[in-house]
């Protein structure tokens, strides 16, 4: 297989990757440099995304290209611009109007989503049959007990005394198993990313470089 010398992109990516990994030794100037580049580029990237994916196709192009049909887009445009009035102290209070519309609308959407999309389906999913053979019944029982005890653990309106105390304790055990599972997945995800970065450093940068320098 012929290996191509790493291009400038690979050099930049390898340099920044090594700078970031240098933090494993201790906090140093190279790490701070890479971190600052990443922060700046991230903000710039999201500005680009906002323009390319939202503002241009949903606001500027329809509003200025077909004003007759899309005149109503003036409303979100003005509400968006009003947000910046917070930089004019005398008019800062007007920016609350946009926030009020935005928060209000999503509060309404949120209420429906929570009730219709989460509480009802999850409650329905917990109502499981207990007459389906020994093992499936036991498994269903685990789910029912788990949901009820976790909910009791999160019930803070009365102190966890009497029967609530051991029930909430069982809820904690269920939560710990679940957090353990999430923790396991997180570890695997991070290790997978680490393998990806090391593979890049070795296969895309170091190996072609050594191969190019010494011949193969």
């Amino acid at each position: 297989m012929e290996l191509q010398l790493p291009g400038i992109g690979e050099w930049v990516a390898a340099f920044l990757t090594l700078c970031a990994f240098s933090f494993l030794y201790k906090d140093n100037i190279l790490y701070r440099f890479a971190e600052s580049v990443f922060v700046g580029v991230s903000f710039g990237y999201y500005i680009g995304l906002a323009k390319i994916n939202t503002l241009e196709p949903n606001l500027f192009r329809p509003l200025f290209g077909n004003f007759g049909e899309q005149w109503s887009l003036i409303v979100p445009f003005l509400l968006g611009v009003i947000l910046y009035l917070r930089y004019i102290p005398k008019l800062a209070w007007v920016s609350n109007w946009s926030l009020a519309v935005y928060i209000g609308y999503y509060i309404g959407v949120n209420l429906l989503q929570r009730l219709q999309g989460e509480i009802l389906p999850q409650a329905k999913g917990t109502m499981l049959p207990l007459n389906v053979g020994l093992w499936p019944t036991l498994c269903n029982l685990v789910v029912i007990i788990g949901v009820v005890t976790v909910l009791i653990y999160f019930f803070f309106s009365s102190p966890h005394k009497g029967v609530l105390k051991p029930t909430a304790r069982i809820g904690i055990y269920f939560l710990m198993i679940s957090f353990g599972a999430s923790f396991g997945y997180t570890v695997m995800g991070r290790v997978s990313l680490l393998i990806g970065r090391l593979t890049f450093l070795v296969n895309d940068w170091a190996r072609p470089l050594v191969h190019g320098a010494f011949g193969g």
């Binding site: 580049v37 906002a50 939202t54 968006g80 788990g146 269920f174 570890v187």
Partner: protein, 212 residues
């Protein structure tokens, strides 16, 4: 004007999706659902840009005052300016000759590798956190650790080599105890969020007024 108008706007806006849900009519659906969804995404973009203005202000302030680490603020501002101008004034994707436009180039060779590297660094810290969890000798920590180990070994080929039952056990944990706990968390959080929504809808909570 300063208090009543935002309260009225918020209450009105919060009832629009509810009305659209209970009165499924083409006109209501078009205006109260589809158009408003579109509008909110636009307002969110403006709000996001507002956050960026704030970031620029903070870093400029640091540079002007020559505060500790100001040079890194310069790096943040310069890299931000370069990427933002590529995003705002340039195209994205690939040119006809196969080379990348600057916005995509920076994404591919700076943003994506740095993001993966920053997250992969956490692998080392997670490892040290696991070590600390190992040393805590109580029932909760043990359950957390046993759950994590079974899931990790159950999802890799090595798990089946330890014992053939490990992958099945991992699957069982995911399907039953984990699902039960997640369901409890989802229902609890959703009940809390729904009650909070109602408080905002009737004007008891007014997060949009800020500190004023």
């Amino acid at each position: 004007m300063k208090r009543q108008v935002p309260i009225m706007l918020a209450i009105t806006a919060s009832f629009l999706p509810v009305i659209a849900f209970f009165f499924p009519n083409a006109w209501i659906n078009e205006w109260f659902n589809r158009k408003l969804d579109e509008w909110m995404v636009i307002i969110a973009s403006f709000a996001f840009l507002l956050g960026i203005v704030s970031m620029v202000q903070v870093n400029l302030h640091k540079v002007r005052r020559r505060q500790k680490g100001w040079i890194f603020s310069v790096i943040i501002l310069v890299s931000f300016a370069i990427m933002a101008s590529c995003g705002l004034f340039g195209a994205q994707g690939e040119r006809e000759n196969g080379t990348l436009y600057p916005f995509t180039w920076i994404f591919q060779f700076i943003y994506a590798p740095m993001q993966a590297t920053m997250f992969s660094l956490l692998a080392f810290y997670v490892a040290s956190a696991s070590y600390r969890a190992f040393r805590v000798k109580n029932m909760e920590a043990s359950l957390l650790l046993i759950g994590a180990l079974i899931i990790m070994f159950g999802r890799i080929p090595f798990g089946a080599l330890i014992h053939p039952v490990v992958p099945d056990l991992a699957e069982w944990i995911m399907r039953f105890p984990n699902a039960a706990a997640q369901r409890g968390i989802i229902i609890g959080a959703a009940l809390g969020a729904a009650s909070m929504s109602i408080r905002v809808m009737v004007g008891i909570e007014r997060p949009y007024l800020g500190k004023s």
